[in-house]
């Protein structure tokens, strides 16, 4: 780590004091003094981190990914001719069902090539987002927790509430099986498995297991993901020329 040299003399004049202070601040904040500049990229990246937030604002101790930030970005990426593809990076613990499904539907319906990577975790409502891209990757150590929806909030009519939750769950299951290579039976089995999670029913699939279950296309990180995205972009451009 960068440490201050003890023998260096202090600059006497005011201005270099300020620049020195700026540098020290930068070293403290980033551990380095400068970050490289780059040209505009034709691949755009969206990170989905923490809780996915929809209709309700969550308390600020949550790290959140907001619906109102992501959806306009997806629209902008889809309509901007300079942008060729989308890389979606996930490390999420889940969140609002409708916002999660909205993001997943948006990504799935884009004409531009999209590749998703699950790094760390893509749990609960992160699962439909992870499978929404044209191609999906999961880091070897990343996990995805598949579990049934739980109830929060007030229950007015028990049968109606039960049906509503059942429907919500069906929407998630349908989306995942339509956009991945897993089967409905397999996914339900993972979702309702007993004994895998200590406090819940469901399954925690790790890295290659997610590929074996057909949820994710391939294990890998950012390198293979960008390579695949470039491949998809070239394929699409080749098709357009023909």
């Amino acid at each position: 780590m960068a440490e201050e040299q003890p023998n260096q003399p202090n600059e006497p004049d005011q201005q270099s004091d300020e620049t020195a202070q700026g540098l020290v601040d930068k070293i403290q904040a980033l551990g380095e003094t400068n970050v490289p500049k780059a040209e505009n990229s034709d691949i755009h990246v969206i990170t989905v981190i923490g809780q996915i937030e929809g209709h309700m604002q969550l308390p600020p101790q949550n790290k959140t990914t907001k619906y109102e930030h992501i959806i306009p970005q997806l629209v902008a990426i889809e309509q901007n001719p300079k942008i060729k593809g989308l890389l979606l990076v996930l490390n999420t613990v889940g969140g609002d069902v409708e916002a999660g499904l909205a993001i997943a539907e948006m990504v799935a319906s884009m004409d531009k090539p999209s590749v998703t990577i699950v790094l760390g975790g893509g749990h609960s409502i992160g699962v439909p987002i992870a499978v929404a891209g044209d191609y999906s990757f999961i880091a070897e150590t990343a996990t995805m927790t598949i579990h049934p929806i739980r109830l929060n909030g007030m229950v007015v009519g028990v049968p109606q509430t039960f049906e509503y939750i059942e429907e919500m769950q069906e929407r998630i299951i349908k989306f995942v099986i339509h956009h991945s290579n897993t089967t409905e039976d397999k996914f339900r089995e993972l979702m309702f498995a007993k004994g895998n999670l200590s406090r819940d029913i469901g399954t925690n699939v790790i890295g290659k297991d997610a590929v074996d279950h057909g949820l994710i296309h391939s294990p890998g990180g950012v390198g293979p993901a960008i390579r695949k995205l470039n491949e998809l972009i070239q394929e699409k451009e080749g098709n357009m020329l023909q």
Partner: protein, 69 residues
């Protein structure tokens, strides 16, 4: 609203905390600012789909927010 998450809901919905954040829309993405104990705002996170924006030195997490408000 149904929250479908692996985190305990009591942690997600817990209201008691003193983290103060605000959002600033800029020409290159939305910057999420957080207030420190001395009342200064610093960059917590940038929300932008353009990877080049993340290389701007004034948008790096931990940087003091220089703007007037």
């Amino acid at each position: 609203m149904i929250i479908y998450t692996t985190m305990p809901l009591e942690d997600v919905l817990q209201e008691e905390n003193d983290t103060e954040v605000k959002y600033k829309d800029t020409s290159s993405g939305t910057v999420i600012l957080q207030k420190d104990e001395e009342g200064r705002w610093f960059v917590q996170r940038l929300v932008s789909s353009n990877p080049a924006d993340y290389l701007r030195s004034d948008y790096q997490p931990g940087e003091w927010w220089q703007s007037d408000d």
